[in-house]
């Protein structure tokens, strides 16, 4: 027998093992023998602390109380019918809930479309046409500094009546759309005024 089997048999006797084999193991294994001694002392402690039996008078008093309790139950019977499980009533859908649900779905779809557009806008494009279109768009819409080498052969599409301002300094040049407001629908009025004041101060203009 292995030690774990011996200890299991000592703790939870099953009578599956031959006592002679157990005794032989315990005789040769000090650890299991110590476990067996402790188990035996616990059994002795258990026996030594058995409760004192109540007196017959105490039992009679208990029985009287039980009979009284049962009689009281018969007078006021306690239902032994199992309590039915609590069933939560189904919530009725209200118009407000439907509106909220539809609005949430709509918002989710709008968010998805915006994300898709944003990704398409930010995605790099490798075709020459796309690069040109991108540069054209930046020139048209963003009057920010452009490196001079980018303007070696600039493709600038100025509509009839349109007005563009090109500014140069040592390292870069800048193209600004100065098309009047009626020609450039949607332009920033503030930017228009700023540009007008700048063009008065630096009269280098190009027009077609």
């Amino acid at each position: 027998m292995r030690c774990d089997e011996v200890i299991l048999e000592l703790a939870v006797p099953s009578a599956d093992h031959d006592p002679a084999v157990m005794a032989e193991h315990l005789a040769g294994c000090e650890a299991c023998a110590e476990w067996a001694r402790r188990a035996e002392r616990l059994d002795r402690l258990w026996d030594a602390t058995r409760p004192t039996e109540p007196t017959p008078a105490a039992w009679n008093a208990v029985w009287s109380n039980i009979a009284e309790g049962l009689a009281a139950r018969e007078t006021h019977p306690v239902s032994t019918t199992p309590t039915p499980p609590i069933v939560m009533p189904a919530r009725r859908p209200t118009p407000g809930r439907w509106i909220t649900a539809v609005a949430l779905v709509g918002l989710a779809q709008a968010a998805a479309i915006l994300v898709a557009l944003g990704l398409a806008w930010r995605a790099p494009s490798d075709s020459p046409e796309a690069r040109l279109a991108e540069r054209d768009r930046s020139i048209r819409t963003e009057p920010t500094a452009i490196r001079s080498e980018h303007l070696v052969d600039p493709v600038v599409d100025i509509e009839a009546g349109g007005l563009m301002v090109i500014r140069f300094d040592r390292k870069s040049s800048r193209l600004e759309d100065r098309t009047p407001a009626e020609m450039n629908v949607g332009a920033d009025i503030g930017m228009e005024m700023t540009n007008a004041m700048e063009s008065i101060a630096t009269p280098q203009m190009a027009a077609r």
């Binding site: 703790a11 002392r41 258990w46 030594a48 109380n65 309790g69």
Partner: protein
């Protein structure tokens, strides 16, 4: 309490249960007489106090006789009753702990109905026994309720592993592992150097 009729001595529990269901108080009294000691010892080991143990027996018997219609006979009446005693003792212990928290040392617990241990001739022996009881009770208190209930059923009720499993509603393997674990903890917790002199 009425004395048990002599014919009831050999009557199986199942028949007494059947009679008790139909309102035969003598049958109920016989069931009480047969199982009161086992129920008392079980409750005492769960609670460590004779007065509380008697109260638990009383409450458990009222519950059992009041719910005989729920007893389906799949396990024996004794197993079913022991389950009720264990659960009632657990509830009782929880209520007692709450009370003890609220009113520390109110001095209650002794009862005129409960005799002192029958060691009156030798006060030293009585004190020794009290020391042993306290030591064992402290060690039992350190077990979880599940371990304590299982071990007490094993050590005190005389139920088989299968009956303990039925009483607690757990697999037999769990019963055995709980008994093993409880025994190891008790053996490790008790101060054997001090207790061995008293045993």
């Amino acid at each position: 309490m009425p004395e048990a009729p002599t014919t009831a001595v050999a009557m199986p529990d199942e028949l007494l249960v059947s009679r008790a269901r139909s309102g035969d108080q003598a049958a109920s009294a016989e069931l009480f007489r047969r199982h009161r000691d086992g129920a008392y010892r079980l409750a005492y080991r769960q609670l460590g106090n004779e007065h509380d143990a008697l109260d638990v027996v009383q409450e458990s018997m009222i519950k059992a006789f009041g719910a005989l219609s729920d007893f389906d006979g799949r396990s024996g009446f004794r197993t079913w009753l022991m389950r009720i005693v264990v659960n009632t003792a657990l509830d009782w212990g929880r209520r007692r702990n709450r009370r003890a928290t609220l009113q520390l040392g109110d001095g209650t617990g002794a009862s005129a109905d409960i005799p002192e241990p029958a060691d009156g001739d030798d006060p030293a022996h009585g004190l020794q026994r009290e020391d042993l009881r306290r030591a064992l009770d402290r060690a039992l208190d350190r077990l979880t309720p599940a371990l304590r209930s299982t071990f007490v059923l094993f050590a005190e009720s005389g139920l088989s592993y299968k009956e303990i499993a039925e009483a607690l509603g757990i697999p037999v393997g769990t019963v055995m592992s709980r008994i093993h674990s409880a025994r190891e903890k008790l053996q490790a917790d008790l101060d054997w150097d001090r207790l061995s002199d008293m045993l």
